[in-house]
Symmetry: D2
């Protein structure tokens, strides 16, 4: 059997304690487009996305990650993943079509090493945008920049592994889902984290050590913004709503992201608005290693800096909760 690989990051499903508050942030201020709604679930996507949703907001008791949805490369691969993962001793739940609006049959499981909740799906509806916002450009579903920050598409998720090395998880994602390590931080006695992708994006997902908590967490969700200039405008837009960024604007050396991090005031879930970056097409790419003495440059090429007094354990310690068993 040729090695299985997922195709792309499709969506993130988030539980939030105050659904209306989170809708206000993600739809009205950030400007994601609501595509559907069922009971206590709201479905959103960016103007560049054709699939039914890249984000699901679910009314829950507290803020946590419900799951990360990965698209398989084919319907067959979806079946193969179910079989393969069970063969690896993973408990795989089959969720019927419609469990998530717009989505066909899927499988869900937890990464055995870290506990992060994952989903693999294949079939997804591609609803047209309402006519009044539909784009005349055939390669995007809706008009760009109609409201708020207006991200084009989901870009990546950043997941934290608690107080143990993310090494096992990085290895597991690589061996079983096909992710390649693109860049990583190696401290003398700890792999601090790795940026991994199945696409030419420098990362679809990152896994990081988390000095502050025990369990698995979602750190942030990255959405793509077309240019750094648009990110600057976005920060002005957030400021008009009294929202200050946790970090940024700045540029990470690792990933070359031009970034800023903004927290949904209602749930605490963290958004990275992300532009720039670079693409990796070369199959011979060797993972880039960053060591302790070059860490500030790797994390903050410009725009922020490491603060030894407030960040004794981790230079990047801003987190949100994720689903645990």
């Amino acid at each position: 059997m040729s090695k299985l690989e997922v195709a792309m990051l499709g969506h993130v499903a988030l539980e939030v304690p105050d659904l209306e508050g989170s809708i206000k942030f993600w739809r009205d201020i950030v400007g994601l487009i609501e595509t559907d709604r069922r009971g206590n679930e709201v479905y959103l996507r960016g103007w560049g996305e054709f699939e039914h949703h890249s984000m699901v907001l679910i009314q829950g008791k507290e803020a946590r990650l419900h799951h990360v949805g990965w698209k398989a490369r084919s319907a067959e691969d979806l079946d193969k993943f179910a079989t393969y993962l069970r063969g690896q001793g993973v408990t795989v739940d089959e969720v019927p079509a419609g469990t998530e609006l717009g989505q066909g049959e899927a499988i869900r499981f937890f990464v055995p090493t870290s506990g992060h909740p994952m989903e693999i799906y294949w079939d997804m509806e591609r609803p047209l945008a309402p006519e009044e916002i539909r784009s005349l450009l055939k390669s995007q579903s809706a008009q760009a920049r109609l409201r708020g920050v207006s991200p084009r598409r989901i870009d990546h998720v950043n997941l934290w592994c608690g107080q143990t090395s993310p090494d096992d998880t990085i290895a597991w994602m690589s061996e079983h889902l096909g992710f390649k390590v693109r860049e990583y931080i190696q401290l003398p006695d700890l792999k601090l984290g790795a940026w991994m992708s199945v696409t030419p994006l420098v990362h679809d997902v990152a896994f990081m050590f988390d000095p502050a908590t025990r369990g698995a967490r979602l750190h942030h969700i990255g959405y793509w913004i077309d240019t750094p200039q648009d990110i600057l405008h976005a920060l002005g837009h957030f400021a008009e709503h009294g929202i200050r960024a946790d970090l940024g604007p700045g540029m990470h050396g690792i990933t070359q992201a031009f970034y800023s991090y903004i927290r949904d005031p209602s749930s605490g879930h963290l958004l990275e608005i992300f532009s720039g970056g670079y693409l990796i097409f070369d199959p011979a790419w060797e993972p880039i290693k960053w060591e302790a003495q070059e860490l500030e440059r790797g994390l903050f090429w410009y725009g922020d800096s490491m603060d030894p007094t407030t960040e004794p354990e981790h230079p990047f310690a801003r987190t949100t909760g994720a689903r645990t068993e």
Copy 2:
């Protein structure tokens, strides 16, 4: 055997009638970095590239395309391509390591339907940039924007097929090299062209009908510029050198490229400086079809327009010569 696919566009080798004149354009004004030189060959790359070269300039009798170099996915694949293509009746030349500086063994052949000269390689040196221009960012070889327009990396090639439909060539590239059609123009009686990729880029290569000439040609080489703002600055830089763009700045509807086209005054080879665009990660992507009545929007979302008086046959008729037998 699983289907063979090339991995990425690696480089373009161009014959030029006045090597010094072309060096002045591509290195001194455009700002590509010279990495090597041997006799009448000069090797260049962008600051974001690690491979030995993305462009070779070769002193020749006239401006023509020497070959387009595609990287295989592995050393094994390179061998398989040689066997497979011969099995398809294609004449395949094996070129020894060092035929092109920095490059290992490779194969060369002509696309049977169009006659465009192609190369597939695997092994390529990754020389460090000279220390004085080397980047502290580990994900790029040299400092960005040190001179001229300063492209980051090669993006795509646009190839013209002469006065017959590019249909056969599009099909051949798809069937034998693994390219997927991302967008295409279908006129009532003619497929005007298609944009194809093996990567998530909306195109690594395009093939177009050419009303003006018989044989295969290179239309242009696309290099990536990080932002549209940088392309605008680039046009000011060209203006200071008395060089006016053939087209642009503008945005293509097809590919969403923010573009401008500038001709090497010495050779006539055409450069597209390219930013924006969009990425296709979805394996279920259906090629986007553009028809006659929406052609202006597809070609020129903004910035240029179709002129029925001067463009009777082709809205995009600016070409340069390519290698023929």
Copy 3:
């Protein structure tokens, strides 16, 4: 008496044949903010403006310029202008406060040499923006970029003088209203036009020769957009509404404007969205002269070009109607 000078361009009043159509363009698509309305008059301003309006749309029989409103440097200066201009033989109409909503007493007159209708005012209300769009930034009245192209403020007007040299008008504006020539085009037998200002802007107003018509006209109104990148986004926004620019995007050599010209489809009035430019603080500035052989560079540093076949008389011949007696 120290020489009189107006202080700044305040607003433009435009007659339009289809008020609703023009509101749709200027308010809903361009994104100017409606501040007031009375009968067949609608008042608009940009988000960076505090005065009551920078544009008035007036239902009329046809598209024409009603007047250009210049702010005096003081209430005293307004009186002095009335006296002074009458002393120059100019017919000066005094219009009572409230003739234009938000505006105090003003004077109106026609430039004697060209016939362009001008107004000088001093007193103008500064209404707060509605709370839901008011900015937390105290130096602008409303939040930026809430809708459409979203210009910050009016920048300049470009006025055409018909088939005679604008020389007399340029001299009159200079001698009587205090404008300084910043750049001009001198053809062998004709001053093609001049860019003039009382502020450090390279122009508040330009006067141009017009080969195509007899009378005075408004050529276009310039509104300021913060960055060239925003102008590019604006062109995509217009494209979604099926509106193509008449010219641009590009950069004028003269004024260093990064520009595009878009026509109100309903009235034909022409908008220049304008960014870049440069500022002139030096009182010793000498007007820059552009001659025939450098005209293309002066008009189109990049982005457009002069076409000798379609522009035999004037490289810039796109005009809209203005008020005549």
Copy 4:
């Protein structure tokens, strides 16, 4: 006598302890253009400037401000200023032509209230740029963006007044040199500072309270960069030279500046690279007042924040030395 007003900020003369080190920063990394040199003085300007220099670097014992050069509105005004200031009891030094290379006769004096060294000049040479870097655009002296950060022109100076209120100095600059207050910070018991201009720029000069030192200081020199995107690129360029910004990138609410602050490693003199901002044309402009509870928004609209633990006395406490008696 009509009230005297200076016309514009012309240049800043800085003493530096290591001339070669400072040349490396300001010329080679920042990218100002060296126009002249005499003994231990080096003269620099931006590519958009026509006057002989906007910065003089002078070998000195330590980093301090030698003087700020203001251009008069006319030769007559220069004479009038000498007489007028003496009439106010100010000691005025007349410096002969050539004291500063390129400059005619000038006067120098200290602001009586703060001690900041000022110069007023009228006559200044306007040397052509060397042909190889001269611009084809007639409204700038040299080609843009040839090297480094490449500022267009000087924008403003920010001066600190020591541990007493800057109130007297603000009043003195207003009454005697013609500056208008555009924005200011009023704390319950202290005017923290004011931004003032004689031009439509929101400030040509700012005066601030300085909790940390007794005497007058130069805080920073602002140079104009065309777009925020260029400032971001600049920060990458500084990073390649191992230079991290003291502050930014971010946007000040006050002035609407998109900024970053970078220190000459050799002298400690501080550069603000500055874009954005807004222009004030209205003679009826009322100074904008910011109070304690809105200070963070005024200082850091986005990008930085006030830190009560490290900035107990002043949110902006980064200073360099200035000339005292």
